[in-house]
Symmetry: C4
């Protein structure tokens, strides 16, 4: 296995989807938020990504079934906006940064083919006494200000580690627009509370009516070719 | 030396061989089990693998003779099933995961050319108070359940590190079937007891009659071209 | 993103520019000195470099705007000598030395295309009790002696880590001439005092009249094509 | 700088030269021994090797002159046998094993072009109470036994780290013959005593008369094309 490959499960119809990234990290804020968004938007797993940049172990689920670490892409085309939600088992090793850059480029290539030009990356930011704060960094001042007007705090003068930072940065250098939302967390364990704060902010920011979505469940109709 | 190379010693006749991996790792459970299986099945060393993914030292044997770290492939075609048994001196460095993925892919390529489509990987799983338990993870629920019915415990909801995990995972993503057996071990030193537990389970699981095998020693006839 | 790319903002007219490197490092002496020199020589940012050899995070500025870590090239063609000043956000990871060599080669290729054949690299050297000393190492004995005659101490019999050392070394092996200036610093925090010592020495060494430069501010005329 | 390059200073006439490796390592035994052998055999520096596998700093000598870390090849064609003596500033980083394998292959390619098919690698082996012992490992039992008959102790059942091990191992896999001599050392600092033990053993083993060599100094005539 020499390179990243995308295993396509079905081909969703997507209209200018927003790429939302929520991978494992501090307090698992990104991954939990992504899972909540997948549930809310009834997004379907449409592509799996395997890569030699991901760790060299296998994941075993609770039934004893294994798979190599992978990224998963979920598509939601029922509401506005459409989404590609990226989550997964693990982030690349710290030892191969060149490979990580390459992987992030491949993900953006893939999302561009699906019509994406806007990214929201989600992570945690370690704080000694977190209290539900959501911080924002963005590809432009305009976007940062707009997000702050909706209640986020400024994440100014720092770094954003891993895929949550790198995807946003490479996306920017390709002309994408995007925002990073960081939930304050002690980071010591999976922090569902921090993820819920980010999730609430995210749905408000995107104008997704959580109730309405629940109501329309019966009428859900994802057009997909298996 | 830029890439992996396979040094072929002879060409065994193999019929749908099961690939069994037992490399150094926790408690050396995998490697010791592989050595026991080689002895039982009178498997012969038929191919050595050298690779720049393996560590950059040489191994010196008790007579002072050196060789670079290598993987060794043993073939057994005397019983049912046939086996390719993979063991070796060392696992790849933690620093080059991309190279490890590549190496595992090359091993599976090689085994496929020999007719393999089923893999059993063997390792140790660290436990504070091991008591001879054998854990199983598999490429499918059916295989996991079948192995548990023979007495293995479920290894659910974790990771399997190194080649023992990665080979199984990549094999699965290529459409192979396979099982991983993990012996409970403190992992602090070579744990022959844990390996014996796994070995007994393995021979029972595969229906290899240990006595019969000992009897047929005189009739052994490995067809090979040197 | 597979390789280094140079994002050109404008094309300065440069006459045999001296390449001055001041990247983050011990006490941030190199970076602070580079910033002072940029200010003094009214150098303009003309090229940004992005590379998978740089760390896999994003930098967020005080306004919440992100960019991937980058190197920046500033050009000054108003005085004598002309300068290309290289500074940036971060140095490459310790884990990919091959990539670091490659990156330094690419930087020298770029500077050669701009007409450079002389390099001054600037860094800090950790000392328990720094007192404003500036140390010198060079590509030749003649250059080392000349710099010592101007007041620098000999940096003899050691190593110079990171880009500050590697750029000088690779430049030498390409036939460039060059000097490394190291400011004594405890290295524990950004050491503006050490940087000022290096900066004063550098301007004296290059015969840049700081006052005159300030005076000519009104007559500044950088010819550039945006 | 993307790959290893050999800077040739002159082309020595060599007849089946023995490649002797003595690089920095435990107690610097290898490097010091190589330096003693260079002196004894009046070997001349004929090639420098630069490589992105070597560390990313520069070496500064006592006069303040820098160069990137390099390997140096010295040739001696005055006595029997002829020698290529490999020494240098540093060993490759632990982080890039694939690159280290490649580098060792390139060194053997180079030595083969010079007519070498026999290698002696020299290093230190850490011991709590070293007493001048010299240990041997070899590419064959015959060579190990012959060396033990001359007084070396068996280095059996271990590993030999770094270039000292890897060069010997890769050489063997190419069909070379060779020996590794390891001087017992605490390894804490440059251990001239341990190196002297190895050096005495080496000259005895090779039948180099130290006195005679000293006498012939006046008649020395290295044929070389600059």
């Amino acid at each position: 296995m020499n390179k990243t490959y995308f295993q396509n499960l079905f081909q969703p119809k997507l209209d200018n989807p927003v790429l939302v990234e929520g991978l494992p990290g501090f307090g698992n804020v990104g991954k939990i938020t992504a899972q909540l968004l997948i549930k809310l938007t009834k997004a379907k797993l449409f592509t799996e990504l395997y890569s030699p940049s991901l760790p060299d172990y296998v994941i075993v689920n609770t039934k004893g079934i294994c798979h190599p670490p992978r990224y998963e892409f979920y598509a939601s085309s029922t509401g506005k906006p459409n989404f590609i939600i990226l989550t997964g088992d693990a982030q690349p090793s710290l030892n191969d940064i060149v490979a990580h850059y390459k992987l992030c480029g491949e993900i953006l290539d893939f999302a561009e083919e699906c019509g994406s030009k806007f990214i929201i990356t989600i992570g945690g930011v370690p704080m000694p006494h977190p209290a539900g704060e959501v911080y924002v960094a963005a590809t432009s001042k305009k976007l940062a200000v707009e997000t702050m007007e909706k209640g986020a705090a400024l994440y100014g003068g720092g770094k954003i580690m891993g895929a949550t930072g790198l995807l946003l940065g490479i996306a920017k250098s390709r002309g994408w627009k995007g925002t990073c939302l960081l939930g304050a967390t002690t980071g010591l364990k999976a922090d569902r509370k921090a993820a819920l704060s980010v999730f609430k902010f995210l749905t408000k920011m995107l104008g997704i009516d959580q109730k309405q979505n629940v109501k329309v469940r019966g009428r859900e109709s994802v057009k997909s070719k298996p």
